[in-house]
């Protein structure tokens, strides 16, 4: 699994790739968590927050964006960063997941939103799942 941050005039463009579709969602929250606080999700984290979230959407791309949006919203209300996810149910249009995070005192970056712009999950030439995610900063 891989996260790359690419140039954008005002916002943050992130390209994520993973072998499995579920894994792409996990890479997504790690990539987002590391924007909220630099390298936060790369360390061993003693999680102190666990939440269950349920998302339905019309296709896998919307499911991913809506999933990341929900994780972002609870990051602000819970004042924490979520780096781990386990799936109770996962289909291309529905997920029930448990997310794990840790309390933080403020963020390095304030993400206003996870946008649908340029988001399009596809299988790349290596046979891995890939998409771009643009964050409004």
């Amino acid at each position: 699994m891989k996260v790359e941050y690419l140039p954008h005039t005002a916002d943050i463009r992130m390209r994520i790739t993973a072998v499995h579709l579920q894994e792409l969602f996990h890479v997504g929250i790690i990539g987002m968590g590391n924007i909220l606080k630099e390298k936060f999700c790369l360390q061993d984290i003693p999680y102190d927050r666990k939440l269950k979230i349920e998302i339905t959407a019309s296709d896998p791309t919307c499911l991913l964006i809506d999933f990341l949006s929900e994780v972002l919203s609870v990051s602000y209300t819970e004042k924490g960063i979520f780096c781990k996810v386990t799936f109770i149910e996962f289909t291309p249009t529905k997920t029930i997941a448990e997310i794990y995070g840790k309390h933080v005192y403020g963020f390095d970056e304030e993400i206003k939103a996870v946008t649908y712009h340029e988001a399009d999950i596809f299988k790349n030439k290596d046979g891995h799942w890939e998409t771009m995610v643009v964050f409004d900063i």
Binding site: Y5, P7, H8, T9, A10, D11, I12, L36, S58, C62, D66, S69, S73, S75, Y76, T77, K79, G106, F107, D108, E109, E110, K112, A113, V114, T115, Y116, H117, E118, A119, V134, D136, I137
Partner: protein, 482 residues
Amino acid sequence: MKIYKTDINKITDYIWEIPKSFRPAMRVPARVLASEPLLDDIMGDRSLAQLVNVASLPGIKGTSLVMPDVHEGYGFPIGGVAATIFPEGAISPGGIGYDINCGVRLLTSNLKRDDIKGKTEALSKELYAQIPSGMGKGGQIRISDQEMDQVLLKGAEWAVEKGYGKKEELEYMESNGRLVNADPSLVSAMAKKRGADQLGTIGSGNHFVEVDYVEEVYDETIAQAYGLFKDQLVVMIHTGSRGLGHQIATDAIKQIISAMPKYDMQVPDRELACVPFNSIEGQNYFKAMCAAANYAWCNREIISWEARKAWTNIFSSNTEPLKLMYDLAHNIAKIETHVVHGAQAQLIVHRKGATRAFGPGFKELPQDYKTVGQPVIIPGSMGTCSYVLAGTPKSEELTFGSCCHGAGRRLSRTAAKKQVNAPVLQEQLKEKGIFVTAGSYKGIAEEAPIAYKDVNMVVQTVSDSGIAKKVAKLHPIAVIKG
């Protein structure tokens, strides 16, 4: 989509047009308001491809437009205006943006530049102490669910009722600081939760509170009407509806994407998702957007109260309180009447990174601005300068009564961080008499002057094109950032 200069027709020295024939999906031509050097600069990112996409919005009238400060966004470009026919034309949350009613206000004082000598650093620190800022941080004011509904309904009036502002100030805010269509019952519990502790906070990114002095007055008559004079100290505030607005936009775009097939609406980018304004989903979003706009006006009113506390703590309590010159939104949708192809039409005007710039006689203006036109406040970047302009009838003719909202970004945050040594920049600005107080060096680097276009060029373009008139130039002294 690649756009070449040969695809663009020159209409005047300041108006450039991509014709409707450029793409089959375009319903109207796409126009850029810019001088030629700025147009060349704009062609460096994907702003124009995004502008062309906006021209395909269902019900769009006239032209899709961008201002000289435009830069690439995520769907709609930042610095754009799109007007759709009322009531069945499209409303698109992406055309307003996630930071609903992000806006700017200017407070004037009776003090002059000399009065701050030896106190600038202390004032910076006091403003930083009084005005909560920073990433995802809350403020000192906590409101209950019932009070939140009142904030969403009443906007700046709520702050006035609670003693944070003055009643006579309300008329100096766009729409008197309150949109009457707001419906708090259409705002999600998550949005209300995110907004519960953020009133009176500026947040981070490009949001700021800044102390400036009036460096130059270009039009004495209008400056006098606005209460501006040379060397005067003023305070500028730039922020919006915080997490509450971000959540309302997020909720709406998700709902509208699902609803689009019902109305057979198709757009080239999901961030342009739209529904008819008069549909249930369109109305639900519009009423929630109005609620977020009201939250933003209330927020800027409370920040003004915090700034006033800092002001009197540093100067004396006998000092005349800071007075609101004007407050205007630059991420909002409004129902307005404009002339399109020679006939009056009621339109849903989306402004994303663009402000209103109405000329003299506009009915919403306070009595003392009626003959001179609406104030347009253009923040530059820290370390350069800002401007106060006045709207003109020409803006109503050319840009649906709109103007640019700032200098406009030209460098990505990553590129800015690579090029800027923040501690050195902070020291260099201090040597120039500009005190920057920020939560992090990263924030200073990302918002460095080099990351922005030349605000002087941008303002000269809008002035030369006739859509706004230069009134005064402001020079920064103290900048507070998250």
